[in-house]
Amino acid sequence: MRIADESGLKELKNSVLQERDSLRPCITICGGTGCHGYACEKVIAAVENEIERQNLKDKVSMRVTGCHGFCERGPIVVIYPEKVFYQRVAVDDVPEIISQTIINSKIIERLLYTDPNTGVKPVHEDDVPFYNRQKRIIFGNNGKIEPTNISDYIALDGYGALCKALFHMTPDQIIEEVNKSKLRGRGGAGFSTSKKWAITRASKKGMKFIICNCDEGDPGAYMDRSLMEGNPHLVLEGMIIGAYAIGAHEGYIYIRNEYPLAVRNVGIAIKQAEELGLLGKNILNSGFNFTITVHKAAGAFVCGEETALISSIEGKLDGPRPRPPFPAQKGLWGKPTNINNVETLANVPLIIERGADWYSKIGTEKSKGTKIFSLVGKVNNTGLVEVPMGMTLREVVFDIGGGIPKGKNFKAVQTGGPSGGCIPESLIDLPVDFERLTEVGSMMGSGGMIVMDENTCMVDVAKYFLGFLDDESCGKCVPCREGIEKMREILTNICKGEGEEGDIELLEEIALTVKETSLCGLGQTASNPVLTTIKYFRDEYEEHIRNKRCPAGVCLDLISYSIDAEKCNGCGACVRPCPTQAITGEKKKLHSLDQEKCIKCGACFETCKFDSIIIK
């Protein structure tokens, strides 16, 4: 059934809402990738069975949604309309949830989240500290929508912005509105979205393309995946508006093959939008034609770079090329092409619907709106968080993230993926936006925020990123290909205890050369992890080089394991996990560790409950 026009969409929305009783309990279960890691599919099946068994089909509905963000506490269940928030839900909890909470409106205390700092157990989702400090204007609807059901999206005014754009605005007005909102690309460099659109629009008439970049390659970031999996219509709507603004009739979604659920959900979403006449020929009878093709990426980090991405869609392997000409002038098959990241496009419907004046009130002077970060690593509340630009690192890591696990000391935050840098504790009150992050030597990137504690070795982190980049460098230009490898070699030597005086200076020299002379963004930013760790953690490098010591206890060649004679109570728990039988001792007596046999695998350290394994 095609929707005829703007009023047709409103009618459809009203009929969807009329069919639904907003007071009827609805059990929403997070079906995001994080919760799948906790086997949420078993909980989903259990809820289905229990509703059937208790014959409650007419009284309760259920919805399997995309990612809610609080991945650390999965599987997550939220019960509407009150938004009762249950976490770490197991299959055995399901009958009780139905009989107690749904039928008798009773709260099951043990399933509530407990704030470790205050001991408070908030009942409702909005009161959970992880959520109540966020501003989830983009990501918030994930929890209310079944991604494969377009009605859920339309019920929340979905595609309303598209109607406004098609029937009440000219392409120039759309670009002006986005310009006023000061929206900047969320994929890495933070280029002005409206400028990109304007250049593509101004390019000569004829074929033009719009590409949505979902080749989220930064290790440590997964917000694009969660948006595409959880709310694909939001991205499609932004893309259609963008296409209309620049005058493109064909679009591509370039998406990672490692994201099968996102590939599936966006494929279903495209089909549904086509069936309703929201995509394809003569959209809503406006005369505007636009089709979208999904292109699966086969795993190459460099293809996130826009010229390499274009070459990949063309079925070539040319890798990155020098710019200008920019893709907006000469892109896919030589035609003007606009490339936007998933999260950028997800911002567009909101800007059109609520206006640039509203949007630009959020954020800082030059960085407007919100940003979704993947808050991961050594932090208590891991997950996806959406905060207004300008929130301080402290608020994100400690207030939302709940601080560092096991009472350890915070050391650094790494932002911007392999192109970014490590920000030390002394800068914890830094407001997070494009400018501030660049000023301290890091960058926004796609929004990975990896927290590191006292047990993270910064030299090892630099080595890790260089290893990644060495592996992913396409090899086309010399500085990136050779420079990264050389830096990696030096860092590997330092971690092995073979570092020499002068290594740090040599690293800095190579890093600057690679930065200034590489062809594309991969090489130009590859030095950031090295330069920032040297800048803020030079003492750790010196400790490795001069004293052959790894203060964080990470670099295997520089550490040894031993048993603390005062703490060991001889419980023997560490004996069995040791794969080389290096630990021996009688029950209830001090155990000993044979250095010759020890392979430093860490099994004893993980097993010991009395902190009696020492790493030095």
Binding site: P219, V376, E606
Partner: protein
């Protein structure tokens, strides 16, 4: 995998070399890896040199030129997993199975691979076997995980 199946895949993509990546992905989904004779066949059918097909098959991480085991273990080495000890988890799997990253056990039960990010960073360190996720891994959990198969 027989050549008729390959023909069907080629036809589904209009016999166009621009779709080579998708063609190879589909072949690998069915054959579990990219056999040499099928790569030659694809090259012949598309009228392009075998070297060009091989260039694609070796450039992208998703492709394997070696037969893979019945279960593929993907160990995530993304940043979030790395800082939480992913390397130790990998080393333990290597030790338990007696193979290195990229190899397959002799009985073709397991192939061990590493991935730069699996996109479920909150669960790190993460290991995925086929489609099953093992989150918050550590060295002591490895033997139990492998026993599931």
């Amino acid at each position: 995998m027989d050549f008729d199946r390959v023909d069907k895949i080629l036809k589904a993509y209009g016999m166009k070399e621009t779709h080579l990546v998708s063609i190879l992905l589909d072949i690998q989904t069915e054959a579990n890896f990219l056999p040499r004779e099928i790569l030659s066949y694809v090259a012949k059918k598309l009228g392009i040199p075998l070297s060009q097909v091989c260039r694609f098959a070796t450039f992208y991480k998703a492709f394997s030129l070696k037969p893979r085991g019945r279960h593929v273990i993907k160990t995530c080495l993304g940043t979030a997993c790395h800082v939480r000890g992913a390397v130790k988890v990998l080393q333990t799997i290597e030790r338990e199975l007696g193979i290195r990253d990229g190899d397959t056990t002799r009985d073709f039960k397991f192939t061990l691979e590493t991935v730069n990010c699996l996109g479920a960073c909150a669960l790190g360190p993460l290991v995925v076997i086929d489609n099953d996720y093992y989150g918050q891994m550590n060295t002591t959990k490895v033997p139990k995980m492998l026993k599931d198969y």
